[in-house]
């Protein structure tokens, strides 16, 4: 009886697991890393792994994973290593249940670095590098410059790359613009491609709050990392609305501290205290007068 019960639990449990199957599209599963995994990519991947994955997946090979349901597999385990590179990449982007999606927190290159680190624990692993590999675009080491076009009200990015020490415009590269906020980067406008002059113009909202003088920290990033390599730039431009709102504790209110309490309240309180003490003082003086009158006779 007990055996059947355990079997039933196992069946139910596996049903529940299969109900939340992690689906990876075949095209995504076939995806390959744009660069070859080397010691340097493994090292870079380890840093990212320690910061983002270790808290649940533990140290690869040591099986010190956190006990969640479902249990996060060890990065060196057979289960994890059975995934193709593309499947791992896709799962990192998707996330599932307690496993967060890293779509907006890690770049595609960083994800490949993590996969490179994980593959380092599989001696049987032989890497297949994607074709075309990284650096297939004609332009490399792209540098981006941001500036504010006051007349058109647009933020412009200029993409250049050095070719024989002469700056050449980079055409056809897709870039994204963000405004830095307290907890994350706010996407501005859509991803746009550079024109023949290497120029990208972003429409900038007229009502985005900046700091006290209207400065906004802007970040621009190249999205096609595979072809062009990683490139990003930051600039502090006066494109926002100057925002200098007072502290919420500045106004006088019933809940404020003594200095910030309503004037009428301070006045009424002081008046009440003075009245009470004044009355007591009056009584004392009267008693004194009676005493004096009595002692005269």
């Amino acid at each position: 009886m007990k055996r059947y019960f355990i079997l039933l639990i196992i069946v139910l449990f596996s049903m529940q697991l299969s109900a939340q199957e992690w689906v990876v599209a075949p095209a995504e599963a076939a995806l390959k890393s744009p660069f070859a995994f080397t010691d340097s990519t493994r090292k870079a991947g380890e840093v990212i792994y320690v910061a983002n994955c270790k808290s649940c997946h533990g140290d690869p090979g040591k099986n010190n994973v956190i006990q969640l349901v479902p249990i996060p597999p060890d990065a060196a385990s057979v289960k994890m290593q059975a995934n193709t590179d593309g499947a791992l990449h896709s799962k990192l982007i998707q996330g599932r249940g307690a496993m967060p999606s890293f779509k907006n927190t890690l770049s595609s290159t960083d994800l490949w670095r993590v996969i490179s680190f994980m593959r380092g624990f599989n001696p049987k692993y032989v890497q297949e590098v994607a074709v075309p590999t990284i650096g297939s675009a004609s332009a490399q080491n792209v540098s981006i410059k941001l500036n504010w076009n006051k007349t058109s009200g647009q933020v412009e990015a200029l993409l250049t790359s050095l070719k024989e020490n002469i700056a050449q415009p980079v055409a056809g590269a897709e870039v994204k613009l963000f405004a830095k906020r307290f907890f994350g980067n706010l996407p501005i406008d859509e991803a746009r491609k550079s024109d023949a002059l290497g120029k990208v113009s972003f429409n900038f909202p007229k009502d985005l709050p900046g700091d006290s003088i209207g400065n906004v920290q802007l970040v621009v990033k190249l999205t096609d990392e595979v072809a062009f390599g990683e490139a990003s730039a930051e600039a502090n431009l006066t494109v926002g609305v100057p925002t200098n709102r007072p502290a919420l504790t500045d106004q006088r209110s019933m809940w404020g501290v003594l200095e910030k309490s309503p004037v009428w309240l301070i006045f009424a309180y002081v008046l009440a205290v003075l009245t009470a003490w004044g009355f007591i003082a009056y009584v004392v003086l009267q008693i004194r007068a009676i005493y004096r009158a009595g002692s005269k006779e």
């Binding site: 307690a98 907006n104 907890f183 504790t249 809940w255």
Partner: protein, 322 residues
């Protein structure tokens, strides 16, 4: 010294001449003493040498963030003393130039309760003590039920602060309403004043006592907790000071929570880490506040539970099933 001890043994081997004995006795005693002294001295010296070289004498073992045990010389060691006065001062003032705001998307909540457990873990609460709780809501008989996480609303016109007789609960410049458990006298006026039932009273001794011993009280974390005082959601002010999202916001697996700064008109989703314009998010999704008619001006917004992502499945006892 060792030379003396050799002499002594030599003397001892050849007893004979029976003259006064005094000289021999003297050497004998002297030798014995010398041997003992030499042995003792050597022991002390080797002990000292061993103490000097053995690990952990002038070194302190430290566990690094990447799980390695390293030894750090004691001389280069500096105890970090967290100053209670400093914690109190910075906790009262708050972060300049910010107005924190939370948006809760009811369409995404399926009562996973990860926010609750993360919060209770951070603030050392018992499983039945909630700074944030998911309520089961149903407006009327014919409308659909939904889950509603409800933290403290951090009102801009907080009735709880107005009634506190000892200035224990207060509002900061960044909009967060906190409690100073060092000042709180446990009168519970604030519990009566709060229309959102956001506050709880510690009837029992704190859950974590041993581990919190000697920890200076952090007003931005309400840890160590104190029996006979009030506690409530703090918007994780200690995390905000580090530029991190609150515990509940980053623990949610379903993307329910957005947290951000009204001054920057932006909120970031704790699950996907995507950032949105606050004004747009509220406009597009018809965001609303709880009981705005009371004039409390809450800092928490709700997005209605339309197009729910999950089927409503009410657990009879959700705490037990986790």
């Amino acid at each position: 010294m060792s030379q003396n001890s050799k002499d002594a043994s030599h003397d001892h081997d050849h007893p004979g001449h029976d003259s006064t004995n005094s000289r021999r006795d003297f050497f004998k005693n002297f030798g014995l003493f010398g041997a003992v002294a030499a042995a003792g001295g050597a022991a002390v010296y080797t002990g000292y040498k061993y103490e000097e070289t053995k690990p952990g004498a002038n070194f302190v073992r430290v566990l690094t963030a990447d799980n390695r045990i390293i030894e750090v010389p004691k001389e280069g060691f500096k105890d970090i003393k967290v100053d209670l006065n400093q914690l109190q001062k910075q906790g009262r003032e708050g972060l300049k130039g910010h107005r924190f705001v939370m948006v809760i998307d009811l369409a995404k909540c399926r009562n996973a309760r990860k926010c609750i457990t993360a919060c209770q873990g951070a603030h050392h609460l018992r499983p039945h003590e909630y700074h944030i709780n998911t309520l089961v809501m149903q407006e009327s008989e014919n409308t659909a039920p939904y889950f509603m996480p409800k933290p403290c609303q951090h009102c801009d016109n907080p009735p709880c602060v107005a009634v506190c007789p000892v200035d224990a609960t207060f509002k900061r410049q960044d909009g967060i309403v906190l409690i100073d458990n060092e000042r709180c006298i446990g009168c519970r006026f604030c519990i009566a004043a709060c229309p959102y039932s956001a506050r709880l009273f510690h009837w029992e001794e704190p859950l974590v006592v041993e581990a919190d011993k000697g920890t200076p009280y952090n007003i931005e974390l309400n840890v160590p907790q104190r029996k006979g005082t009030i506690s409530k959601c703090l918007f994780s002010s200690d995390r905000l000071r580090e530029g991190k999202l609150p515990y509940c916001v980053s623990a949610c697996p379903n993307g329910v929570y957005y947290f951000g700064d009204e001054n920057q008109d932006s909120v970031t989703n704790g699950t996907t880490k995507e950032t949105f314009r606050l004004s747009e998010l509220l406009k597009v999704n018809a965001g609303y506040q709880l009981m705005p008619e009371l004039g409390t001006k809450p800092r928490v917004y709700y997005l209605p539970a339309k197009n729910r992502l999950f089927e409503f499945k009410e657990d009879k006892d959700p705490v037990q099933s986790i």
